[in-house]
């Protein structure tokens, strides 16, 4: 059935049809009767990666197939979301090896985006924890692959935006925890220099990220709050928490019921940050033990927060620069601050080393911030792209809705190798999206 679909950024929105399946034969039937298709999970990538004329939703292909509670190995169909997995594994003393800043993504999406989390510098991205997975490729064959078996298919699928086929089953390793809580430390940084020094100082923490104020100029340029954390031990919990260390009390969720005018969100985030920065953090450092949910998923508590950017939508701009190119980070932040087009807050994170074919992370600084769609924005982002390229960086495909194809081909060193593997497994261009057409990966 024809409908209007957009991903999390509400930009772009296209007219297309979307089918579902709950058995593998059904998706086989679907791809046998369509000349092109892209798999779509929960639609939490921001741009056009899972948009296409024909998409097939994996959300009903969501069964848990096995859970080894001794070894911490989880096996499931690709359409199950991380929040459902957490509900199953946390009470048994296990956690996701890697999680992005929202739990409302599917496992298939986690693989296709090769998601990273606050622990990238310690645990790498999601692909490093996959034991094996099944993919329906272009010749409609289901292939089981892993880092050692059909490794070309495996590596082109991790971060491959669904262009090698439809991921149907994933088996991956979990992380042992003894409580559902995080021992958190928040440290105020006076400026960017200070913040980067703090990242270095606290790099032994498993989890780290920082909020950074994009508008401040002068001495306080790049001021922010570094947030680091570790899974708490039972001894670190208070009496109340210790009664059921692996259970969290259910919480009510707020929701943004309709699209707001786009200035509202910015005003709110300014207030929230200032509150954190000035009031809560009068001390330079504050410590606490908090449930894992607000630590990993602060924005998930507000359903549909994306509507805060209004009907025109927004793009999230996330790039990474090599570690030695700190001056690039300064240059880009300066440009963003001068233009005043972006959100007031950005998220900064230092990635660790990563070997992969087409995944986004590499050792260096990654910065993410939102830009409400408006006149002149795309021209401005093209200028930012040029700086990112100049410093040897690249953009995250899961956030991208607008990068020019040459930026992709110049910034991803394995782009050609990736395109060749797509040809092997998806020669007839059966799997294609608005994004892959735009980036000339399937044109």
């Amino acid at each position: 059935m024809e409908k209007r679909l957009a991903n999390w950024g509400n930009y772009p929105a296209i007219s297309c049809d979307e089918s579902t399946f709950s058995q593998e034969e059904q998706v086989q039937d679907f791809i046998s009767t369509h000349s092109s298709v892209i798999a779509r999970g929960n639609g939490r990538c921001y741009g056009d990666a899972s948009l296409a004329q024909h998409s097939v939703s994996t959300l009903k292909y969501d069964k848990v197939l096995a859970f080894d509670t001794t070894k911490g190995i989880f096996e499931c169909q690709s359409g199950i979301t991380l929040d459902q997995i957490l509900d199953i594994i946390v009470p048994q003393g296990w956690f996701l090896p890697v999680t992005p800043g929202t739990k409302f993504i599917t496992v298939g999406g986690a693989v296709a985006s090769d998601v990273h989390g606050k622990n990238h510098h310690v645990d790498g991205s999601f692909s490093g924890h996959i034991i094996d997975m099944d993919i329906i490729t272009g010749n409609k064959e289901t292939i089981t692959c892993s880092a050692n078996n059909h490794s070309d298919l495996f590596w082109a699928t991790c971060g491959g935006m669904g262009l090698t086929g439809i991921i149907t089953r994933v088996k991956f390793g979990l992380k042992k925890i003894s409580t559902a809580y995080i021992r958190q430390k928040q440290i105020k940084a006076r400026n960017l220099e200070d913040l980067i020094r703090l990242f270095e100082e606290y790099k032994d923490y498993t989890y780290s990220m920082a909020w950074i104020d994009c508008l401040k100029k002068g001495d306080a340029f790049g001021r922010g709050i570094l947030i680091v954390g570790e899974h708490a031990t039972p001894e670190e919990l208070n009496e109340q928490q210790r009664k059921a260390p692996l259970q969290l009390a259910p919480k009510r969720k707020l929701s943004v019921p309709f699209n707001l005018p786009s200035f509202v969100l910015n005003t709110l985030t300014v207030k929230a940050f200032n509150w954190l920065y000035y009031l809560k953090n009068t001390k330079r450092e504050i410590n606490g033990v908090i449930p894992y949910e607000p630590f990993f998923y602060p924005l998930d508590a507000i359903l549909h927060w994306n509507r805060g950017y209004g009907k025109a939508g927004f793009v999230q701009y996330q790039f990474v620069l090599p570690l030695e190119k700190k001056e690039g980070l300064v240059a880009i932040l300066q440009k963003i601050s001068d233009a005043g087009l972006g959100s007031f807050l950005a998220v900064l994170k230092v990635f660790g080393k990563q070997d992969s074919l087409i995944s986004f992370p590499m050792e260096g600084y990654t910065l993410a911030l939102d830009f409400p769609v408006r006149k002149g924005l795309f021209e401005f982002l093209d200028k930012l792209d040029a700086i990112v390229l100049q410093y040897g960086g690249r953009l995250y495909l899961s956030k991208d809705a607008r990068m020019k194809q040459e930026v992709f081909w110049q910034s991803y060193p394995n782009a050609q190798k990736f395109a060749d593997i797509i040809k092997t497994y998806n020669g007839a261009k059966l799997f294609r999206s608005v994004q892959s057409d735009r980036l000339l990966l399937t044109e």
Binding site: T20, S22, Q23, V64, A66
Partner: protein
């Protein structure tokens, strides 16, 4: 732990109902024509909710197999829910008897055949709950789906009679009248979003109604009033409408 038998366990609505009861700590017996297709759901229920789950081959239109099927269950279920149904093609069924018969037999005859057997057992033991998922389509025939609608109408009448019969025996019958629901069965229909339920909504309503021993529920609830209006349109006008 009490046990629920779900007949027609392959559908989206059945998956949601199975999960809803499993979440509330019921053991689940899944039954569908293609038993192999149930193995993933069976595992899923065990792992998510730590209940027992089993899969059984059941063909609604293979009437003669029904008694043996019910006898073969290792545990007689406390609750039996018929979810199976076949929308089919109205247009095809108007001239193709095979299609028409399939619509009638899946939605009506097959349900009667298996529930007769279950009802006898529940009557003999003096307890048990039967849940029939019928449809608001059975409340008034429309040109766009009166084959399906008439079969569901028969089923609705059957459930009401069965409730009457089993009442004195101590067993209960719940009739469920869903309106539009987003499932694979309706994937190609253009459904009005405010009137259309998710399978999980239906499942939650069914569970609550079983616990509260309701007789007839509509889901979403306002379908009761929509159908009241539709049923009150005089036939002279109704026959001219494009419905």
């Amino acid at each position: 732990m009490p046990t629920v038998l779900i007949l027609g366990a392959g559908s989206d609505m059945a998956v949601a109902i199975a999960r809803e009861f499993a979440r509330n700590k019921y053991d689940i017996q899944l039954a569908a024509r293609n038993v192999a297709s149930l193995s993933a759901l069976e595992q899923d229920l065990r792992i998510r909710y730590q209940v027992s789950a089993s899969s059984h081959a059941f063909d609604a239109t293979d009437f003669t197999s029904h008694a043996a099927f019910y006898r073969s269950l290792s545990q007689a279920p406390d609750i039996t829910i018929t979810v199976f149904g076949y929308l089919g093609s109205q247009e095809k069924g108007q001239s193709d008897w095979t299609e028409a018969a399939r619509i009638l037999h899946t939605n009506y005859t097959g349900a009667v055949s298996i529930l007769n057997i279950v009802a006898d057992e529940y009557a003999a033991r003096g307890n048990g709950t039967i849940v029939g998922i019928s449809s608001v389509a059975g409340e008034r025939g429309r040109q766009s789906n009166y084959l399906y609608g008439s079969a569901k109408a028969g089923f609705t009448a059957y459930l009401s009679g069965l409730r009457n019969r089993l009442f004195l025996k101590g067993a209960h019958v719940l009739s469920v009248q869903p309106g539009f629901v987003y499932t694979r069965m309706t994937e190609n229909l253009k459904l009005p979003a405010p009137l259309t339920a998710q399978p999980q909504d239906v499942a939650r309503d069914v569970y609550r109604a079983v616990i509260a021993k309701k007789n007839v529920i509509y889901t979403k609830w306002f379908w009761r009033y929509i159908m009241l209006i539709i049923k009150s349109i005089p036939e002279g006008i109704f026959k001219k409408l494009k419905l």
